[in-house]
Symmetry: D2
Subunit: 240 residues, 4 copies
């Protein structure tokens, strides 16, 4: 692991350019809204990349220099090239952390690494969202109270068709009657993956201090560890 954790925030960056309501909340794009508070944390350096850049901004060089990749996408999952998806997947299996936000549940890279449909229920109806911490000793819960009061947000409801998380850190309560496993930890290969639910583009969710805190905590948790790089294939006996 490098001395500083090198984060790349990836954003589809379409809503903000085409929808005035979203632009009013995130005038420079959601990636900038996520990156700025994150870069205020000591020991974290942040870059951004977006869909419409060449290679979606995710060149081999940039990924090789990324410790944790944050992913927000929604409208244009299908436009992400399979080549880039496999490139990101390979980096995750080799140790890069991945933090998937909100509608990123349907991103190719998340479905590729989960193996399931990653489908869910949803409703844009100003439900009140309250996130309950159910793993208070987990590093991603550091600095939080018992709940995060999100306020009005898009509802996501169960069944969330993902593998059972290795650690379930958060569950969201929605006033309309649903709940959702909203903070889910996974390991794939040497890489760690955290899915975090809130963040619909028409709400100011990424300006919420607790949401910013969770993202920063997740980055630290998901940063690569200098563990063994496994050798595969034909192997000689190891007898003493």
């Amino acid at each position: 692991m490098s001395a500083s954790i090198r984060v790349t925030v990836w954003n589809e960056y379409r809503h903000e350019r085409h929808d005035e309501r979203v632009a009013a909340i995130y005038p420079e794009g959601m990636h900038i809204a996520i990156a700025l508070p994150l870069s205020a944390n000591p020991g974290i350096t942040v870059r951004t990349a977006t869909l419409d850049e060449p290679e979606h901004g995710l060149s081999v060089e940039l990924l090789d220099a990324t410790d944790v990749l944050i992913w927000w996408g929604h409208l244009a999952h299908g436009e992400v090239s399979d080549t880039v998806v496999e490139r990101v997947a390979a980096r995750v299996l080799d140790g890069m952390g991945l933090v998937v936000l909100h509608s990123g549940h349907f991103a190719k890279i998340f479905k590729r690494l989960m193996g399931t449909s990653c489908d869910l229920k949803w409703r844009v109806g100003d439900d009140h969202e309250r996130i309950w911490v159910v793993a208070p000793g987990h590093p991603i819960a550091a600095g939080l109270g018992e709940t995060i009061e999100i306020g009005p947000e898009e509802m996501y409801g169960e069944l969330f068709d993902v593998p059972a998380p290795e650690t379930l850190v958060f569950i969201s309560w929605f006033s309309g009657g649903e709940l959702f496993r909203s903070g889910c930890c996974y390991t794939r290969g040497r890489g760690k993956i955290f899915y975090f639910r809130p963040g619909h583009e028409t709400y100011p969710t990424y300006h919420h201090p607790d949401v910013q805190r969770v993202i920063a905590n997740a980055v630290v948790w998901a940063a690569p560890v200098d563990g063994p790089r496994p050798q595969f294939g034909n192997a000689r006996p190891r007898n003493p």
Copy 2:
């Protein structure tokens, strides 16, 4: 779930037709060697399918009439069509059980559902394999002693690059100095998946009564459950 568990044993069925040593051990094919003792269990009915049949023997109709699919492949993973792989994956997510045997760790369907490389170490060198039960209360361990003495087998060694199993039932000890998580339970969607390690084609492993017992236990464990079929998408409020 049907009154009887309907099993399909899928086999690549190439070694047995092209390699005399394998044919000597499994003259009718490994699928038959697996199917026959399985069909002796009350409440289990068994069919077989092989790679070189049309659609690899895995038509929509057959899969719809299959409760648990058993998979053995080795040489020709690349010849399995992506269409059939996605068809099987969809059935698993909808509840069909999947039992993946030995070199099936590299089958497209297994990698598709795990999201990892599924790579490992191996050696064909007559290592002694002893399987230790580490979950003695699990239904897949029913009827076993503390160990299964396999005897000479191909070695598979860690790191086995799969997601951490939801339940780890068996670990294999090899005389050459390696060990391997050899009985791994997963859930994907509504379907259950069991990976079971032993079964290299040049050893009579599928004639071993304990191996046959494990496969029968795994079939019962992986059989579909009549649980809720989730509704996805836009949802109305559920307030009381």
Copy 3:
């Protein structure tokens, strides 16, 4: 495992004898209300035991003849003798299933097997409880829809101070703003444990068909498996 699953329903049986409101709902006691629908399932035979019987009704003989023990207690956890608690714990570790209901979260036997405080939030205020199935392929979810509509019940809220369940089958949503991991699977030794939340004594919860279904499913899931009885202590080498 015996041909029929032998269940003992244990009940504190105090509320029903001292509180008219509870007696109106459960005139013969909650144990009878739980036992009767359970005994209607083929392959399940049911007995009951209560706190004020000698040895709380849990003699060595009865426990040895019990495959799954169901536990409801509330007011008088402290009156359960430590001898009986250790007797039950030993049976669970040896394979007997244990289904702990509602306020049994504070039973000595549950805390003994969990190792944590098992504490939680609560409120008797006619909150609406809706239970969401989050593991639709699990045998305890068989026969259910996506939710169980409990209706008014006592609220239990997070943090529920238990070890993270090996499988989380249900999460409860409460209209007052809380949620709760309400269907939790554990293994301890060779025994399986299921905690199921609903069932406050002032509500007719155990007359709810889905609740009865869950309890029956849990009994089948928790029934002992004929797995290996481990040998402990000084051991000779096992080399081939």
Copy 4:
């Protein structure tokens, strides 16, 4: 969390005073052998405590000033007072980390927090122990190769009667034919627990650089997190 992680190494400290062979390997006691390399890590400060001190050296004040407690015991588990065991358990549930070494598997505090017998097979016979890393992305595996070559050690064999670890980091291979889940992570309340197998008193295991590295990694992993302190009991509605 304090700026520096405050570790207390607890040792029974009897073998070293009564057995010349052990004294030859650990002349100042195993606690000193464990503490010295640990204290060489920046950000870790180390104290020690032993059984025969008043309150076993584990006063309320010392535990309140301890972030991670390391535990080695063997001969005299029964002499540890229940009062101190409950005091330690309460601190773990409130967030203190606990690292249990080798024969500490039978320590009262470990059995108290696991809920199982924690029994196993053993043999003092100079088996060769090789530890395989099966979670290469876990922070406790940082800086290690694929294996730790322990060399001659006491054998511990399965079944290890503990709850399935939340994360299994290591599995030990023994030349005599056994294997053992030797690096096991748990969470209880807000506290993290790591069990690490090697360390019989007649072998120089705690002088092994990789063993020292694992213990230091485990301390960092188990250090308390500033997560929410849950409120239990009667709770008012939280409706928005």
